[in-house]
């Protein structure tokens, strides 16, 4: 972490430096342009001064007619030599309006014509100076020269010829310009250096902050990437789980269908032979096939009783299976639970009397609730017959009804053998039989309480048991008067 901000700072410092240098270059270029232009103007002024000083009174129109010779040439040499040997002067020419060089400080040129001169002549002859940058031969070198063409004109008259002056460009223009440029450049360099030096600590701080933010972003990105990977993984797992679930669902739907078919089959296949058994048994018991002696009748009654048990078992199995499939259908009507309890107690009384059990009913009138009368009767029947079965001779069984708030309560209390706490949680499971029931050979299939629970729950009710071995058992059923907790629509189909 400490190295990276250093590198970033350097980079930003380098960029800033480059920008500053570029700006400095631009400024210097601009200053140079201006300084050069100024130096050129000075060179023109110098040429004008020389022309005025040298020529004004010395030259006559005859000097611009033909190349100077003899005495006149010697005079002109004398006149020009001093000037041409001053610092920065290269050459001076006098040019006739025709373009012929009538005199030159370079003797070889006298009498010749310079093609580039001719182009400059016209504006000059009209009275305007012309400047030009070119190169000329000076000894064995070619030298960059600043040329000035100036008209030669006596006061108040038209120009009679042209004075051409070559100055050394480097010394007269470039060097002059540099005299202006160098201090500016130096000052600029100093200013930029100070500026840069001042910027560096600021840059450091800024880049440190940027770097920290940057690192945070990088970390964030890494975290995001990781969580994205997790999410993708999770999605894949979800997808595969969904697939598995869908497969399982298909299998369950198939199993459910098979179960339905099986139930239908069991229902039909077991009931059909039972129909024949009980039908023909009835025929015999009705003495349609001849008179029965008492012993025959007693034996056939045993057959009848047991075929009845078998039939009830088939019915119970079918009922529990339907309840399991959530397809328990209720035929709803107004039901008076107290009256129902009274009926059941009356029906059970012969069996209670036979076993010398004191069967009592404490039925407080309760409001009618909406439910399936037959199924609720089955609940009371099952509970009462259980109580009677598990209560020894001479004991007592009490059936009570009551109402509290929006609920109707049905209680069946016995002074029977009781149920150990360990067995109570499994009491409502299908085919569960208490150990005592098996030991004492009390008849039953283990379906009765499962059916009771299924019916109570189909009515959105609850069932609970309070029991202790040797002290008896109380089953308590709570049924809501208003079925807020139940779903109604399934019965509509039936």
């Amino acid at each position: 972490m400490p190295r990276k901000p250093q590198r970033l700072t350097l980079r930003i410092a380098a960029y800033t430096g480059l920008v500053l240098l570029f700006a400095a270059g631009a400024i210097l270029w601009f200053v140079n342009q201006r300084a050069t232009a100024q130096a050129e103007n000075q060179a023109v002024t110098r040429a004008q001064f020389i022309a005025d000083a040298l020529l004004r009174d010395e030259l006559s129109a005859s000097d611009f007619v033909r190349p100077a010779t003899g005495q006149r040439r010697a005079r002109l040499d004398e006149l020009f030599q001093r000037a041409v040997h001053t610092e920065g002067m290269l050459r001076m020419n006098l040019i006739a309006p025709s373009g012929q060089i009538t005199y030159s400080t370079s003797p070889a040129l006298i009498g010749s014509r310079q093609p580039d001169d001719e182009m400059a002549l016209q504006p000059v002859l009209r009275g305007n100076g012309v400047r030009n940058v070119g190169e000329i031969e000076q000894g064995r070198h070619r030298v960059k020269a600043f040329e000035t063409y100036l008209p030669v004109q006596p006061a108040g008259e038209a120009p009679i010829g042209v004075f051409e002056l070559y100055q050394d460009y480097d010394s007269q223009v470039t060097d002059q310009a540099r005299k202006t440029l160098y201090p500016v450049a130096g000052f600029l360099a100093l200013a930029l250096f100070v500026l840069f030096a001042a910027l560096v600590p600021i840059l450091r701080r800024v880049t440190a902050a940027v770097e920290i933010r940057n690192e945070q972003l990088v970390e964030q990105a890494a975290r995001l990437e990781q969580s994205l990977a997790f999410a993708q993984e999770a999605q894949m797992e979800t997808e595969s789980a969904r697939h598995t679930l869908s497969e399982q669902n298909k299998r369950l739907v198939e199993l459910d269908r098979l179960k339905d078919e099986f139930l239908s089959l069991v229902s039909h296949e077991l009931r059909t032979p039972l129909t024949s058994i009980r039908g023909y048994l009835d025929l015999v018991l009705d003495e349609e096939a001849g008179t029965l002696n008492p012993e025959q009748r007693r034996f056939l009654n045993a057959v009848e009783r047991n075929s009845g048990r078998l039939l009830r078992l088939v019915g119970d199995l079918l009922f529990v299976a339907q309840a399991d499939a959530g397809r328990l259908t209720l035929e709803r009507a107004k039901v008076d639970v107290a009256a129902l309890a009274a009926d059941c107690v009356e029906a059970a009384r012969p069996f209670a009397d036979q076993r010398a059990i004191d069967l009592q009913l404490t039925a407080v009138p309760v409001p009618a609730l909406v439910g399936d009368r037959g199924r609720l009767a089955q609940v009371v029947d099952n509970l009462v017959s259980n109580a009677l079965k598990f209560t020894p001779e001479g004991g007592h069984v009490e059936v009570r009804t009551s109402t509290i708030g929006d609920y109707v309560y049905l209680e069946v209390e016995d002074s029977g053998i009781g149920i150990p706490a360990a067995e109570q949680p499994r009491l409502f499971e299908r085919f569960f039989r208490a150990a005592s029931a098996t030991e004492q050979a009390i008849p039953g299939t283990g379906l009765g309480l499962a059916i009771v629970k299924a019916i109570v729950e189909a009515h959105a009710g609850l069932i609970e048991v309070v029991s202790a071995p040797g002290k008896g058992t109380t089953f308590r059923v709570e049924l809501p008067l208003r079925e807020a907790r139940s779903a109604e629509p399934e019965e509509v189909a039936a």
């Binding site: 039909h268 129909t275 024949s276 058994i277 039908g279 259908t329 039936a494």
Partner: protein, 135 residues
Amino acid sequence: MIEPAPSNRPLVLVADDDEDILTLVTFRLERAGCDVVKARSGDEALRVALEQVPDLAVLDVMMPGLDGYTVTRELRRAEPTSAMPIILLTARAQEADVARGLAAGADEYVRKPFDARDLRERVERLLRRSLAKPS
């Protein structure tokens, strides 16, 4: 089978694919004072019913070929049997089955195993009701 001699005993069609139950129901109905014509499948039941136009039909639901529901619907559609009392006799005991049977047009739905007295009472009641009307 010999065509039974005309009598004033009501004619009842009994259809069941189980021979024992067919015999049992037939015996009970004959004891109750009815003439019985038997059918062992849905197709046969439909044919016999349309040929002989019995006074009442006791039909099993689960039969090979046409089932009891279908036979009931067909009989209701046919003009001569459209008002004939029909009792469905079945081991299928779910409420949905009862509803389906009544929707098909059956008058009664009796679950197997049936009580002989209950069946006789239902048959007699339906016959009284239908014979009271001029047909």
